[in-house]
Amino acid sequence: MLDWLQNIGQAGLRVFQRLGHATLFMLQILVSIPVLFRHPRLLIHELYSVGVLSLAIIVISGLTVGMVLGLQMYNTLVDFGTEDSLGPVVALSLVRELGPVLTALLFSGRAGSALTAEIGLMKATDQLSVMEMMAVDPLKRVVVPRYMAGVISMPLLAAMFSAVGILGSYMVGVGMLGVDDGAFWSQMQDKVMLDEDVLNGVIKSIVFGMAASWIAVFEGYDAVPTTEGVSRATTRTVVHTAFAVLGLDFVLTAIMFGDQ
């Protein structure tokens, strides 16, 4: 019984210790961000591998999610004779919720895990040490560009996801199921507010992007420098990002839409 309590206590302490490490690490990243103004090419290279290479999965997922949404929502709406509001219903779910959340989850699976594995392997093969010995700060050279690339890419990818999703539901709703073309767009224009819905969605995706990138680079930098350690860190990145994004989503939603 006492052992059990002790174990819980120790695990708790470890969690807080890691959180402390992660916070310090984040602060170090933040003060090092100006380095990107001097070496913009580092950022551009990472934007490509983090952002551009994630485009395919985001577009395909966005399209299918939009198509499925269109189909499901139509089936419900048509019972009430309100299938003309398919446009706003789909757009609101995508822009407010599904776009930011699903993009963040896909992002951590596609790009976050890769970031962790890359940084972790660089650590395991002494590449970070060798940089330090060459008087090149691996935090500035390796971590900061990857972190910023994630932060910048996420909102863009989420916007892409929502846009493609709306297109998917349009194809299904208007193209296949016979929803009125004009009503689809005009109702959407009417109901989706730029300052409430779109802006809040963008804020969500920015917050998720910061959290997902933070977790990914921290797990990589903090990984036990062995094959097994890196593989564990990669798994942790995906799992922790999922928890963080879903938890943050609830908090943000409560703040943004709770009083309506």
Binding site: T125, D126, Q127, V130, M133, M134, A135, V136
Partner: protein, 276 residues
């Protein structure tokens, strides 16, 4: 008069390691090391595998913190420097890592060019000339377009050597420079180390087990065992040493005071004990 002589003697030592202690968790690895590394000379640190030689180099480079004692380089205490000063100092230090540690996403050429691009504003043609010069010195000019994954272990370490010397550092640390090289390459690398040391006025620190090779090129040798310095002196001095530690190591004898085994209970006892 004696004061100035003391001062000059001190000046002759570029790196001073003073009562250095280091522990990993509860395991003490270095237990009070004193080593002086003379300026412009080649100093070798020998010792059995796992005795903490790589650890010692990392302590000198300021990557690890000692639990007691310290390292001074050119009268600067490495572990008391702030980050900026430490990085300034490291710009003048080169280190060949035991594993090579090439950047896997860069070609051989870009690996060697990396420190030049980071720390100088040289033109592209000058960088090219310098990189080719360093690669020529290690015999791999023709391999400059290969990626690290396409190199053999020995080749990768030679590229790492070319990269480490790219900025012509003041202090060069070689962690096992001869491991994994064929006899011809060993000879070339020995000559290269000597040449760099003498022509550029470098100070070289070699970590190695290869007794014959290091005796041939070192000015001074230190032997470490079990966390202590157990022998020091010039090559001839050490060969004639009557210390059991030194004799065993220099002559590669299996029995003697240097433990071949990692600390363990007796073998027979261990076998009879059954499962843990």
């Amino acid at each position: 008069m004696s004061d100035t002589r003391v001062a000059r003697q001190q000046d002759a030592m570029l790196v001073r390691i003073n009562d250095l202690h280091y522990a990993r968790g509860t395991r003490k690895i270095l237990k009070g090391i004193n080593i002086d590394i003379p300026r412009g000379k080649i100093t070798t640190i020998m010792g059995p595998s796992g005795c903490g030689k790589t650890t010692l180099l990392r302590l000198i480079g300021g990557q690890l913190r000692p639990s007691q004692g310290g390292v001074t380089i050119a009268d600067q205490n490495v572990h008391a420097l702030n980050n900026t000063d430490l990085y300034q100092l490291r710009k003048r230090m080169g280190m060949l890592f035991q594993s090579g540690a090439l950047f896997t996403h860069l070609s051989v050429f870009e690996n060697v060019a990396f420190p030049l691009r980071e720390h100088t504003n040289l033109s592209e043609s000058l960088i090219r000339a310098l990189v080719l010069m360093k690669l020529q010195a290690v015999g791999l000019r023709g391999a400059r377009r290969l990626m690290p994954a396409e190199l053999s272990g020995g080749m990768a370490r030679r590229v790492a050597l070319a990269r480490a010397i790219a900025l012509d550092p003041m202090i060069m640390m070689y962690d096992e420079p001869f491991t994994g090289q064929d006899p011809i390459t060993v000879g070339v690398i020995m000559q290269l180390i000597r040449l760099l040391n003498d022509s550029l006025g470098m100070t070289s620190i070699i970590v190695s087990h290869d007794v014959q090779e290091v005796c041939a090129i070192s000015d001074r040798l230190y032997m470490i065992s079990d966390g202590y310095v157990v022998g020091e002196g010039g090559p001839d001095q050490l060969k004639q040493s009557d210390s059991g530690w030194v004799r065993q190591f220099m002559n590669a004898l299996p029995d003697g005071p240097v433990p071949f085994h990692y600390p363990a209970p007796s073998y027979a006892q261990d076998l009879l004990q059954g499962l843990d």
